[in-house]
């Protein structure tokens, strides 16, 4: 008996392979840069407990290292005096922490209702075709682009909307897709 409805049928973008729930190793020790460390210290002053600063600390880690590796979990846990298991539990709870490496530009196409009505899916497929036939969540061989589909980006007035890493890009249609990709290079 296997293959219940809850077993994921395919790898999700930025996620480790199916059935793999442990943190992947990046193979080296990681450490915040000095600026990141200063930002982290400032963060701590804004929260009553160290534990409360976990989510923003992980954001910094994701920005610094690109994704959350086992070493990053251990490092952040050490900074906040939490158990690594607890930190990993938090990382796996939220979908926007990358648990596997992604490209330099993580292109996130919104396909929720407003963007969908404005043809977001077509743009999404077109974009993947243009980047060499990428599968959802796959990264281009040069490590530059990863394309995924996400839920509403709260840019319904500028549909179809795209988010690249943390930046919003409004009204990306088939017509201006080339220009948009060019602007990323």
């Amino acid at each position: 008996m296997s293959g219940g409805a809850n077993v994921p049928v395919d790898s999700l973008p930025g996620q480790p392979p199916v059935g793999e729930h442990g943190a992947l190793s990046c193979g080296k020790d990681v450490k915040f840069s000095e600026e990141a460390l200063a930002e982290f210290e400032k963060l701590l002053t804004r929260y009553p407990t160290k534990q409360a600063a976990l989510l923003p600390s992980l954001w910094i880690a994701q920005r610094e290292f690109g994704w959350i590796s086992r070493e990053a979990v251990d490092y952040v846990a050490g900074l906040l005096s939490l158990s690594p298991a607890f930190v990993w539990g938090v990382v796996t709870f939220y979908t926007m922490y990358n648990r596997a490496p992604v490209g330099k530009h993580l292109i996130q196409f919104c396909t929720s209702i407003s963007c969908h009505l404005n043809g977001a899916e077509e743009v999404y497929h077109e974009c993947r075709k243009k980047l060499g036939g990428l599968k959802p969540g796959e990264t281009t061989p040069d490590g530059k682009f990863t394309v995924i589909e996400v839920e509403c980006l709260a840019q319904c007035d500028k549909a179809p909307a795209v988010m690249v890493n943390g930046d919003d890009h409004a009204v990306i249609t088939k017509d201006n897709l080339d220009k948009f990709l060019e602007s990323l290079k």
Partner: protein
Amino acid sequence: MAKVTVDGREVVVPDNGNVLEACRIAGVDVPHFCYHPRLSIVGQCRMCMVEIEGMPKIQASCTVPVRDGMVVSASSEKALAARNATMEFLLINHPLDCPICDQAGECKLQDNAFAAGLPVSRTSEPRRQYPGYDRTGIGPHVIADMTRCIQCTRCIRFCAEIAGTGELTFIERGGHTIVWTHEGKVLDNEWSACTADVCPVGALTTKDFRFRKRVWWLDKARSVCTGCEIGCNISIEHRDRQVFRFLPRPNPDVNDYWMCDYGRFRAEELNAQDFTRPVVKDGGSTKETNWGDALERIQKAVDEAIKAKGAASILVIGSANLSTEENYLLNSLFRTRLGVPNVEFVVDNGALRRIKNPKAEGNQEGWLKGLESAPNSRGAVAAGVTRALSDSALEKLSSGKFTPAVLYVADAAFAKKASDPAFVQAARKAGFVAVHARTKNALTEVADVVLPVASLSGKEGTFVNSQRRIQAFSIAIVPPPVVRTDMEVLLHLGKRWGVFDTRWTAGDVFELLKKEIPLYADAERESRAVAGYPAVISPASAYDSIFSPEEAEAKLIAAAAEGRNG
């Protein structure tokens, strides 16, 4: 104190209590999984739903603090419907493989489903699967099977709050949630098997006991762990003259609900019994003999030694592994009756054992600590046996400065020293060596007489732990024929000098202790303070009440009277 009415019955509950406890005190057992009196309250399982007057929605009773004048309906139609719904949701993804699950018989899900669940399942979909996370070792002592997990978080909270190690966590979310360690780490702390105790289902089970014996076959006996001086209360679980496991026996004053892995996995050592008949040396060869012959040889050697060289030429070694009763008999026979000045014992300092219990007397920063690797050094001292110091006869023997005419060792494994070659060599020089022994060691090899004695599971008596609490342990398994308990051996030996009556029981000796030892003066053998609480039916549903184990005990007795759980 708050007055709470549960299903029409008014009960008085301490102010810091919650509704679940109030229901329990009122005699209404609200089913629950995630609630445990020593762990933080999370309201995770949604099983303990009750209706409370003045609150529009049904409430998880463990999360609601009691208030004076509260009126609770624990068995109303609405509450029962909510609990049945929760149970149905839990069973959607539970494999229902009780026949091949080792938790069956002590599983809260099984018990609660049996008591209140629907008789048939309305789902036919395949159960949730976790390839790679089922029937897998999660640590050296624990096997995890995530298909059975009901996400109550007791194990996670145990590791975070009691052990303080935080190895376990929820990974993923929603329907994919599993309880696991961080990649590359294992569930390995001093008390890791307690996670299997608190697990209400078969998701975590102990590697040692798994599939060894169906739990309903096991008989239970109240006992005390001999691993260190803390003296955790345990129940010895046995069947067909074989010990299968130890479980912690909850005692809020000592070990609370816990015990360490070291103590727990010493259980099956008790099954070893190398000596089943007295063994004596005749000339160069050894032969088995009967008790009369063995004891007569000892009596003759002792009498001759006293006549020829005086009582000071005899060395008697007691033990911190023996009960106070046994040490007392040893001391009153040799020191009081025969005038032997050297009745001594020695105890090893082992690895530090710890039990978290901030409420216990004598805790250090919340921990009870045990350094001595024997349970009863305080009892031995109270019984009059001297702790061996550097100028004692025992130390002089080891350094070769004293060669006793008779060496009487009441416990062949009294300390590490007993198998130290230098000590054994020195002991071999003694005119006559008699030892009580269960298993072979270097000392039994050189003994002139080996008296076969029973293990802890065959004895009864009392130990005095590091808090100076007197703790009684009882017989689990009647020793094999011919094998005697240490106490019986000493009684029979004492009778030869006309001091003891062989019909004495541990209770009779306890009465003597009360007269002669100040520490025991006010102790009552059957009292709660000495005997502790009863052996538990299921570690997961052990009377997990913060207020009154007595209440829970009354329920256990009532249940036994009704023939349930029996």
